[in-house]
Each structure stands twice: as C-alpha cells, then as structure tokens.
C-alpha cells in the first residue's frame, strides 16, 4: 500500500484470501470487501506488479508483489 492507501489500511500491507492465479480485478474486489476506506479509493488507483503498471485483467501469479498506487502528488 502506498500514499493515501497506506493511510486507509493503517499499514504497509493488507492480507486477503484469493486463490491464485487470479485477475487483478478479483484482487481489487477482495481488497474493497476487506476495507471500506480502501474501497472508495480503489477505483482511482493503479495496480503495479513488480515494477510494471498492469491492467485489471492482468493475471497475478503466486509470489507476485502487488502494489496499490493511489492518485499521485509528486513534484511541488
């Protein structure tokens, strides 16, 4: 979890039960069910696996590191 998503979850990561392989969309749905605060934010979040941004139909494999990236506010 990063930025405001970390704030919603109250930590760097969250655990959900999803059988892998599974599409990113299934993971996102499980995350939304697990945490109401995160649910509001998720439609505006990108998902990264490793160092790649991936679409919602990307298939996550066991061992993949999945990151939730909320709207960004770098720069100044």
């Amino acid at each position: 979890m990063f930025g405001p998503a970390r704030e919603r979850v109250g930590g760097e990561s969250i655990t959900v039960d999803v059988a892998l392989p599974a599409a990113v969309a299934e993971l996102v749905a499980a995350l939304a069910t697990a945490n109401a605060g995160l649910a509001e934010l998720l439609p505006h979040c990108a998902i990264a696996v490793g160092d790649e941004l991936v679409p919602r139909d990307f298939v996550v494999q066991p061992g993949d590191e999945v990151a939730v990236l909320p709207p960004v506010s770098g720069g100044c």
Binding site: F2, C45, A46, E52, L69, V72, S73, G74, G75
Partner: protein, 138 residues
C-alpha cells in the same frame, strides 16, 4: 539515480549533462512551499513506489530526448522528510537552442506530476496532516 533520500545536488546534474554543442540550459527546481489552500505548512514527507518511479522518470527523460531537439535531460525527485525551501525535484534540460530546452523542461515536470508514483504528505502548523489530492495514474 532518479529517486533519492539525500538532498538533490544541482552541481552533480550539471556536470553529468555537460555538452559542448548545447547553448541552452534550463533548470527547473520544485521547492517545498510553506502554504497550501490557506494553511501554513511546516514540513512534507514524500514517499514513492521506487521501482516504478525510477522506471517512469527514465521513460520521461527518454521522451524529452525524442520529442524535443534536446541533448540531455535528467530528472531527480527526493523522498523522505523535507523542510520548507528544500528542493523536492530537479529537472535539467540542455539543448542547442533555448526554445527546445524550455519546452522539454516544461514537458518533463508536467509528466512527473502526472505519471510518477510519488505521494506528498503535508504537515500543518495547526498540528493536522494530509495527503495532497493527486492525479490518477492512467
């Protein structure tokens, strides 16, 4: 290195991009401002998804090289805790002529704000804090 906790060093970027055929040099530095939406800001914390941020900034540097007639483009963004007035981001663009250097640097900072996974958390004088509203990644 494109994302770093250490203070940004303009002299190092200038040395790294030195090109004898470039007569135009534009430096953009984004520094920490002491106010936001009417509230007094005392400090900031920037966090990043570093692997994606490094790759995105590398892509933006390459785009500047291909879209504009520039000889060099380097971008660095700082993360961690920053005080008022410290540089959060540096963009250095060198080109044969000034127009391309200005245009390339403007493109670079706009794309950094739009595409690089970095988050700004502001701490206010009244003791509250908040993440700044951001731009959704495409």
């Amino acid at each position: 290195m494109r994302i770093q906790e250490a203070p940004l060093r303009l002299d190092a970027l200038l040395a790294e991009t030195d090109l004898p055929d470039c007569g135009g040099l534009v430096v953009f530095s984004g520094t920490v401002r002491d106010h936001h939406d009417g509230k007094a800001v005392t400090r900031l914390i920037y966090t990043a998804h570093t692997p994606v941020a490094e790759r995105m900034i590398g892509e933006i540097e390459q785009e500047v090289l291909t879209k504009f007639a520039v000889g060099a483009c380097r971008i660095q963004h700082r993360i961690g805790e920053l005080r008022i007035g410290e540089a959060a981001v540096l963009v250095v663009v060198r080109a044969a002529h000034r127009d391309a250097a200005f245009e390339g640097s403007r493109y670079a900072i706009d794309e950094v704000k739009r595409r690089v996974p970095i988050w700004k958390e502001e701490f206010y004088a009244d003791g509250t804090r908040a993440y700044v509203e951001g731009c959704a990644l495409a």
